[in-house]
Symmetry: C2
Subunit: 360 residues, 2 copies
Amino acid sequence: MKIIVDGMGGDNAPQEIVKGATMAAHELAQLDPEIFVGIIGPEELMLNCLRAENWDCSDPQRISDDVCRYGNIDIINATEVITNDEAPAMAVRKKKDSTIVKAMTMLKSGEGDAFVSAGSTGALLAGGLVTLGRIKGIRRPAIAAWFPKMHTGGTTLLLDCGANVEAKPEYIFQNGIMGAMYVEGVKGVKNPEVMLLNIGAEDSKGDELHKEAHKLLAGSSINFGGNIEGRDVAVADCEVVITDGFSGNVFLKGSEGVALAIMKQFKKKLTEGVLARMGALLAYNKITELKEMFDYSDAGGAPILGLKGAVMKVHGNSKAIEVYYGIMKAIPYVRNNVTQMIADAVTQNAELFRSGEEDK
Amino acid sequence: MKIIVDGMGGDNAPQEIVKGATMAAHELAQLDPEIFVGIIGPEELMLNCLRAENWDCSDPQRISDDVCRYGNIDIINATEVITNDEAPAMAVRKKKDSTIVKAMTMLKSGEGDAFVSAGSTGALLAGGLVTLGRIKGIRRPAIAAWFPKMHTGGTTLLLDCGANVEAKPEYIFQNGIMGAMYVEGVKGVKNPEVMLLNIGAEDSKGDELHKEAHKLLAGSSINFGGNIEGRDVAVADCEVVITDGFSGNVFLKGSEGVALAIMKQFKKKLTEGVLARMGALLAYNKITELKEMFDYSDAGGAPILGLKGAVMKVHGNSKAIEVYYGIMKAIPYVRNNVTQMIADAVTQNAELFRSGEEDK
């Protein structure tokens, strides 16, 4: 198995990305010698970053013109980069030797098994659609993110977080199928409960879009738990929460913004004045536990589901630790063949997947 | 001026509602003898609740068959109640002597100036549309709610919070006009900045609905600051954030849910173990400040904007204090004639208000 990581993606590329890759490679060397980490980017630059992490580069093996192996790390040469400022669709067509397009091409040809990137989400989506293509029957890929369960710990999968802002009931329904398969595949939760983010709990609630999606979900093979209101997601017991890309994005970012603002005030208040500082010192362990509870860094990034390959987006501002988790979380994605699980679920719900297909 | 409060609305009616009304009436007796609080509901029941609050009922003045005055509190007799379980449109047509319909009728006839209710939002909307009607040019009323500014204190007005789940660009645009006028009227902020809740900050971002709304807003007379992402609302410097009723509802409830979940964990952690408890004790004042920062109870409820009258919805689980704030916040709404301000803004932007009118 080879997990390819985008050496040029995100605000902290290349060094933090390479550092994260070496963290994963060190661990994988012990866990499973069959798993390789591929770092894709300009070869010389990547090699220098690798050396800067004191990775043993003394015994290189040339695998191909573009790939050179250093222990369980492969450096894959890609000379171009797609930035956040570029129009994604245009960029992926023009920059064939960009890290994103080349990695996707390797996933397609089987030279790689998963791609982890902190680069442009738009370019990852466009590259995925153009190069990898969609799983048969899937109308639109979706971006999924882990949301902390704030009452019990653990996480809930939320999708779509912004891949499709012009949603149709069929897309939301497909998000349910994809989300359920992903959670079952990577968490091993059998038949996970899926709920629909809506403005009321009763089946009759919501706009036409969500009412129609509700009908499709209720008739499908997945474990559908009905509607869930925004205020209940943070304390949800279900494994997956689905909605359209617009409200999903607004919900996810809104919740993150509130959590960050509260923790910031929290820190500020507990450093104001001697008493508060002493108090904070005494409660230090508990405060640390709190911080960890709302720390997303170990969530392991956001899979782009529905593509014919395992693609994982990690935050643009990811440090080595987020990259490391992204790589580690990609392994069960590949090992349990979530892509195939989704394809099978499509077949199992073939009737429903044909719904609304005329406006494909 | 008479502020009518729904004696039968919400989970804690009637006693907590009447208690809140007396709290306001006590204060208003000092502030302005021209302002009366009307409590609407079954006369005997309301009177008993008033007595239970030790309100001086020794010198009743019979104003009309339906209205009896006790100092600066009027008890208005209404024999019916619309519950949350009833289909709103049907209920407001059938129950003419319900607290909601009767209060709206009094607002229309000028016997009352504002209506504050913890009752069914659907019934308030339906009653408002049927009895009061919309301000000329306003296509749909919207529910507005105050959102805490978590970096500076104070609040941002958010609308629509769920009145219209099937939105059109014109509705979102009108939300901007109504929100700006409301903030100017009740807060006295001249030409307040309005931003559009969207999935990206750039003008080009969002679905067609929000892109079109953006165009209308940019061409209008209000102070439009462009798009704002979900993660920035909690620390927004603008006065008003607008969107469609679906994503607005999901955003507001989602943020509330996260804030509540965090504060709950916070409390839990800081009572675990002796050290944490001692720490919390030392930091008590700061922790109290934190709690207050995220306490919505003084926000004074959610105005339903766009109706020909001042209607204020307070939380269904409101206690006396929320009812009190709802009544007090209704006063500037009436005094500064926000309804007229909105009507004037419609005239000022007449061209834009005609946009999309064919599908009225």
